[in-house]
Amino acid sequence: MKFIDEYHNPELGKRLIDRIHHHSTKPIRLMEFCGGHTVAIFKHGIRQLLPTTIDMLSGPGCPVCVTANVDLDKAIALARLPNVIITTFGDMLRVPGSYSSLQLAKAERSDIRVVYSVQDALGIARDNPDKSVIFIGIGFETTAPTIAASILQAEQEGIDNYYVLPLHKLCPPIMKALLDLGEVRLDGIICPGHVSAIIGSYPYQFIPDDYGIACVVSGFEPLDILLCVDRLVNQIETGQYKVEIAYLRGVKPEGNKHALKLMGTVFEVCDANWRGVGLVPLSGLRLNKRYQRFDAERSFDIDPGPTHEAKGCICGSILRGVSTPQDCKLFRRSCTPEHPVGPCMVSSEGSCATYYHYGDSYGR
């Protein structure tokens, strides 16, 4: 497949790995922010191939995983309302909230439909004018502009039974929050490729400037990731910290201006709840005043009740990079992909599911 196969060249990969071994002299710790990177790194066995000087950690870049129970409970409460159709990406279905999940609500006859695109949710709203169609709006900056486009389209077409539960989150603020917590020492960050396709690379400038941490935006193929690690090692070894893009075919420094404009038209920045971290200032998106009528939480009267965290689940500290799935007593025992206790075991890009499927790539 064009723009994928070229970045899977094993001979080139081997030589890059040799180069990284040659250049990496001091012990460093890198965090891949994005769950998609975590999966790619494990799938291609990249951790095992890197020198022992490089310690790799997974970060909070899985939107399903970071959605707090308080917000999951709202989605489940909305699903239980009469005359409502919930539309959602598939990986949200099995995520346990405080006492239930969308999947359980579906089994209890709530009308919940998995969609591939928010366009499909709009189509369901068009086809069911007598029902309220609510899209569960999770995702980072990659997905938020698609939701913005759907709201503008609904307005333009006069679709007045379409709503969004806005749970979108922003990457740079949570990176800053994690760095300010100071629980994990980091030398470099593998920045998310497709979030950066939208926001560009400028929003990460505070990372080298204020924290002296190397910062490289990466693509998702094995050679993309090796190039990113090589650039991070180079920055750290030379002490020249900056923001680089190792995925220039998909990411421009200024991002996608058109998508950013659509986001700015519909959303405004707000504080957001992150699993494991709590309320992070200015780290989420909500609909602005002009588009509030599309906001499901404002439009429907729901009482999700008190929240409850699953006993023993350490998804929160795994998302902060403080723990790994193997530190969790439930991992592979009572928490498996078939019977997940926490969200990191549900999402295909959650750390726990990735460790479960591919093992700890350090061979432990």
Binding site: L16, H22, F89, H194, G250
Partner: protein
Amino acid sequence: MCLAIPALIKSIDGHQAEVDIDGVTRQASLQLTPEAKVGDYVLLHTGYAINVIDPVEAEETLKLLKELSEVY
């Protein structure tokens, strides 16, 4: 969740495009990439093209990879 894959634009009708993904035909919205044209590859995420892939930069990255792998 932020998965996006390269897709080749075969035809465009307004903001909608027909794209080819390794032999599979799908519909894609170009609302986020109005500059995209037939013959471009786009990064497709949940039915939306989120960026046009830059073929020149793709080639440059491959050149850089080859250069780096030869220099220690």
